[in-house]
Structure formats: C-alpha cells, structure tokens
C-alpha cells in the first residue's frame, strides 16, 4: 500500500490543521451550457430586480404592487392571489412544493438547481465576470493575486470591490421592495425617511452579498450549504450528473504521447481545461463530489478540446453512472425520456403536482367571507328583567374582498331567539343583524342573543351572508346556555 514516492513528497511539509483558502480563478469558456447559464442568470436577475416594480390593479382598497409581502398588514399579495395570515397553509404548501420540487429536480436532472438557479451560483457567476473584467482571465488573475501589494494592485482591487459593493447594494436594496410599496419606499429610502429596519436590512444583505458572492463563493457550497450533503444522499446511479467517462479517458496522455504510442492512451489529453473553467475549482475527473454543482462548464471546455483533437465529444458529459457503464460495454445509452421517466421521478411528480392541484383547488373554491364565533363563558348566561335568557358572543366578520361589503348575520334554529348588538338596542332585536364590513378587513361585533324563559341549553348556528351578487355564506355552530328548568 505504501507508495514510497508520495511518502517522500509529503514528509517535508509540517502538518497544519488549517489551510489558507485559495481563490478559484476560473477560465472563460463559451459553449452550449455556458449560454444556457447566461440565459438563466439574466432571467433570474431580471426576475429578482423587476418583480417588485410590476403593478397590479386591485381597486382603491388594496395595494397595486403585483408581489408584496405586507408584514405590517399581514397580507401576502401575488398577482391575483391575496393570502391572509389564517391561510398560511398556502405558503406552507408552497414551501413543501418547493422542497419536493427540489427532490424531483434532483432525481430527474441532478443538481441542476445548484448549477444554474441557486442565488449563490448566480451571484458568484456575476462576480466572477466582474473579476474577469477588471483583472483579466485565469492566469492574469492568479498572477495579480500572488503579486505584492502596490499602487496598481490596490487601485485595481479598490475599483473591483467598489463594483462588488454596488452590485451587493443593488441586491440588498432590491430585497426590501418586496415588503412595501416599491416606488414609495424607493423615494423614502433616498430621502432618509424610510423605516430603520429598511436601512438595516439593506446593510445586512449588502454585506452578505458582498462577502458570500465576492469572497466566499464555492466555500459556501462546500462548507456552509446543507444542500450538497442532502443531495449526496439523493443521488444514485440513475441520477443525471456531470460524469467523466474514465473508461474512455484513462490513461491520460498528451496528444504527443498518444501519437507516439497509439492505442496506449485514452481520450483525455490531460489539458486540465475542465479544471481551469470550473467555478468551484474541482477536478471532475476525480468523480462525483460535493464541490461539483453540475454547471457543465467543464463539458463545454472538454467538448471544445475533443473537437480540436478530432475525438468524439462527451468525454465529460451529463450522464448517469449507469449509462456511463452501458456506454463502456458498447450498449446504446438510455433514452432521454426514460432517464427522467422512472418510478422515483413519477412518484415525486405525483406528490408535487398533487399538492399543487390541492392548493389550486383550495384557492379556487375558497370563500372570501368568514365568520368566527366566540361565546362569552363568564357569565355563561344572563337572566333579564322579563325572565328571558341572554347569551353574549363575540363575532368576527371577515371580508376578504378589496371592497366594503354589506353583510348579514342571522340566527338559525333557535325558536323565539332574537339578536342585537352593542350599537343596536334590545328593543330593536331581530333574527338577524346587518353590518357593513370595510374592505379587506375583519370586523368584530358583540352579538347578544336572547331566548324566552324556560328554554333549554341548545345548539344553533350563526350564518353570515354577503349581501352582494356573490352571496357567499359561512355558517358556524354555536351553543346557548340557560339556567334550565327551575
């Protein structure tokens, strides 16, 4: 087992518990996957920056921002959907869908989220382009990194970090617009009248973007993020990952060597381009690993080299480990559809779409009117002068439409009972009470219900009915306490 060569090589270095972080200087590459990455990056950034500025008319009683998390008023607006705090299960459902969606994506196309859409990846990519703009490509950046600090290096670094900060500020700054009316907050922000929490949020998110995107980069994926670790448990030999086909590539040898000794070397010319372009600085030829975010830039790089050397593309390619084996034995690879269409993905898809459909169904059938009833328990009942028995309830009438609505609360199934309220005197008591509930609000009212003397304890219901063309109703069970027979 002991290899004398490596033993000698390692012996002269003292053992350290820590090692300095070497930044990754990834080389520029163009290719199919790089272009996909560009497109997704632009789409993600545009969605992030533009979304809060999209307007959506909801009438005079509700905000006109398409996507708004209104924490102050506890409302969540998303285009045509408005979610109230009591409907938080919609958000929970969305989060569960997002989680299962990640499982689905992972089992179908591997770590596609990591490679293309994860904010850490998108912003790291953006910052790496800034690096390239200021300091040049891989070798120039490495040289500058190792160069001693001098005026030129300081100037370059300051310029680059200023751009880092500007991007970070734009990133952190855009976040707050999701939580308040964007144009108003924008104006307040610059005039210094916005809430302190807005400035604090922008500062914190600017700094996290600056540090995580500008400096931590792949360290976040390797050391901080739990997702790669979860993925290692989710990936199997049927998962689509970036695979180096070692059976084809090994043993590695330069073009010259291969020409001298035909038949002795594999397709890998050991040009190290796959390592050079990797944004996380790994060597994919070592096999699947936590650092690989499957961004496929190494595929672009290797394909180019294979083309130049006149060898078939796909030495490094999106492939399942199983397919890689099949290819080795000369069998045709699994069809693309079959890669995705397998029991695991179907199961995830069914769960995912099941939850989605259930949420949509609930969203479509939900009633924008709601009634809750809380009975006074102390005292449970009151005997009035004429011997009749009165119970008191606190009713909450909820109007989820963004317009004021006329509503009627009525008693069902309690013979002889009448009701009135704090602003209606007892001699005007009737079987129902009408109220106007303000737009998008919940109105609390006291309901006094009295029944004739001698009535027994009884169940009954309150019905809330909206007096508009929708005519929505909500019925809630209630209970009346009486002293019983005396």
């Amino acid at each position: 087992m002991n290899n004398p060569d490596t033993t000698l090589k390692t012996e002269d270095r003292p053992l350290s518990l820590y090692e300095k972080h070497e930044p990754v200087f990834n080389k520029r590459i163009d290719g199919k996957f790089r272009r996909i990455k560009w497109a997704i990056m632009v789409a993600c950034l545009l969605v992030y920056w533009i979304t809060p500025w999209i307007r959506w008319d909801r009438g005079p009683y509700a905000p006109d921002q398409a996507v708004l998390v209104d924490l102050a008023h506890r409302r969540f607006y998303m285009f045509g959907i408005e979610i109230w705090p009591h409907e938080f299960y919609f958000v929970a459902g969305l989060l569960i869908m997002a989680g299962i969606g990640l499982f689905l994506v992972t089992s179908a196309v591997g770590r596609a989220w990591c490679g293309y859409a994860c904010p850490q990846t998108v912003w790291t990519d953006l910052f790496q382009h800034v690096d390239r703009f200021f300091d040049g490509d891989r070798n120039a950046r490495a040289r500058l990194y190792r160069a001693p600090w001098g005026p030129a290096k300081i100037a370059r670094r300051l310029a680059k970090w200023t751009v880092y900060l500007l991007i970070s500020f734009a990133t952190g700054g855009a976040w707050i617009f999701y939580f308040a009316d964007a144009p108003t907050l924008h104006q307040e922000f610059w005039s210094g009248t916005a809430a302190p929490v807005a400035y604090a949020t922008v500062f914190v998110l600017t700094m996290t973007t600056f540090v995580l995107g500008g400096f931590m980069r792949e360290q976040v994926c390797v050391y901080m993020c739990p997702w790669p670790r979860i993925q290692t448990a989710m990936l199997d030999e049927k998962s689509l990952i970036v695979t180096y086909k070692d059976w084809r590539g090994e043993p590695r040898g330069s073009l010259k060597k291969a020409q001298k000794n035909p038949g002795q070397f594999g397709d890998c010319v050991d040009c190290n381009q796959c390592v050079a372009v990797c944004p996380t600085g790994i060597d994919i030829r070592e096999g699947p690993q936590i650092g690989c975010i499957t961004c496929a830039l190494c595929i672009d790089a290797c394909d180019r080299v294979m083309k130049e050397t006149g060898r078939p593309r796909g030495l490094i390619d999106y492939a399942t480990l199983e397919d890689s084996e099949r290819e080795k034995q000369g069998q045709p690879p699994t069809r693309h559809l079959k890669l995705i269409w397998r029991p695991r993905t179907i199961l995830y898809f069914c769960i995912w779409s099941g939850i989605g459909l259930a949420l949509l169904f609930m969203l479509g059938t939900r009633v924008h009117t709601d009634l809750t009833v809380a009975k006074d328990r102390n005292p449970p009942y009151i005997v009035l002068s004429d011997g009749s028995i009165r119970n008191a309830y606190t009713l909450r009438l909820r109007n989820m439409e963004s317009r004021p609505r006329e509503m009627e609360v009525a008693i069902n199934g309690l013979p002889g009972a009448v009701m009135w309220s704090e602003d209606i005197s007892a001699d005007q008591a009737a079987r129902s009470v009408r109220r106007t509930v303000a737009a998008d609000e919940t109105q609390s009212m006291r309901a006094y219900v009295s029944v004739p003397a001698g009535t027994q304890d009884k169940d009954f219901t309150f019905t809330l009915r909206a007096l508009d063309e929708q005519g929505e109703t909500d019925t809630v069970e209630a209970y009346i306490d009486t002293p019983g027979e005396q």
Binding site: H21, P379, S385, R390, E422
Partner: protein, 304 residues
Amino acid sequence: MANKRIDEATQTETVGHEWDGIEELNTPLPRWWLWTFYATIIFAIAYCVAYPAWPLVKQGTEGMLGWTSRGQLAKEMSAADQARTSVREALARVPIERLPEDGGLMRQAVAGGAAAFKVNCVQCHGAGAAGSKGFPNLNDDDWLWGGDLRAIETTLVHGIRQPGDDQTRTSLMPSFGEILEPGQIEDLTSYVLTLSGREKPSASAQRGAQLFADNCTVCHGADGKGLREFGAPNLADAIWLYGGTREAVASQIRNPHMGVMPAWNARLDPVTIKMLAAYVHSLGGGEDFVEVAENPAVEVDEQP
C-alpha cells in the same frame, strides 16, 4: 511519522499517525473558518463588556451600555403611556353621554374600562361582571340607580351609601321585622312574589296587598316596579339581588341587607371612571341617555 502517505481511494494525504491500523486523512479546515471562530470569541468578549453578563455574589456585572431588562420595560411602558395620552385627553374633554357618538373613542374607552374593571371591580362584581348574591350583575338590564352612561358614571364617582359624600347614592329599606308581625311579613312576601309571577295569587297575598300599599309603595311604587330616584329595586321582574326564594324575600323584608360601593373619585382619576362607565354600559344592559331638563340633580358631576 514516516508513514505519512497519500490514501489511494481518496487521493488525500494522511496525517501520518496510525492507531491500531486506523489512519486519519489530512483534511485541514479552511483558515477563514478559524477566523470566524476568533470573531465569535471577540464578539462574546465585547458583549460581556457592553451588556450585563457575569453573575457575581450580590449583583451581576452591569455592562458599559447600562442596559437592564427593567429599564427596557420602563421605556416601553412610558412609550405605551405616551401613545395613550391622546385618547385620555379626548376622553377628558368629551361629556360621557356624548361618548357613543365617537365610535372609535367609545371602543378605546370600553377596552380601557375592561382593564380597569379587572383591577378594581372584579373583587365584588366578579370577572365577568355577573355579580353574586348582594353584588349586582352588571350585564343585565336591571339597574337600581339607572343604566345610562351618565347615571353609571355618577354611581361610580360617588359610590353607594358612602358617608362623607353628599351626592352618594343612598337608600334605606326599613327593617320590617321590628314594625310588622311575622304573619304580616308572610303575607307581604306572598304578595311580593305574585308581582313577578313567582307565586300564584292567594288569600295570604291578598292580605299582603294592603300591607304593600301601606308600607312599600312610597319607594317601590304602586305596581312594585321600583323607583330609581330612591334606588328602590323593581320587585316585579325576574332579577333578585338577594335571591328570589320565599325565604330570601322574607328575610330581606324582615332585616334587609343594603350593599355599599366605594366612591371611586377618591381612588381613580375621572378618565378611568369614564372608561369604567363605558365598559359597564357596554356589557349588554346599557340604556340610552335621555336628557332630563327639569331634573338638575343629574347634572352635578361635571368632572374636569
């Protein structure tokens, strides 16, 4: 440590130690991780200096910033008081009978009154204001001294049967045990119980009717429905402060209990009393205020 080597499977260097054949791969932590650890230590030290941290024998260290949880509470309380001032000022200005005109202010007053009630009133009237024997139920529509906002406020301000307050609510039910014969008291009880239909008319009740006309109508009225000017309870309704059984009614004629209530102007400020009145009025039995021009006695308690 000559057995430092590259592990074949992982291509990673070992640390060179070997324990019974077990070797350790050398995978050093990134240096920034160490800096993060140092940063947390520095933060902890800074926190200990700035905030109360170390428990000592008598008292903990105080911290440079002088922060205390009590101080923070006091600050929040005074902020809450500040926020309430505008409501209190508005309440001080508005005459109580006009309070219902401002629905928002009325709700604030009711909420404030509910809080004050729990501190000052529940001892006698109960948490739900339902009272008990001898302590009136404030939820119902039966009022000894009047159930409009002004009347409730007056009762609160001057109390009931409070010596030293010349406007206090006072009434006196004579002890008829010393005036009437026991048989007469039985007859009177029978009659009183027929007023509310608790007993059927009888010979005894008929005899009691005359006794009632002679002794009771001055305060309780000819029909027994009571008179609020005297605080005389309505005997013809279903509500009995001291119980509606024959025994309880007879006892109340023979040797009556008469309750007291503190004059709250000595203990509470006028705004709190106003809020309490609004709360009691809101419990379900509140009556509308009717301006009685020819009765100046009602308009005496104009509080600042």
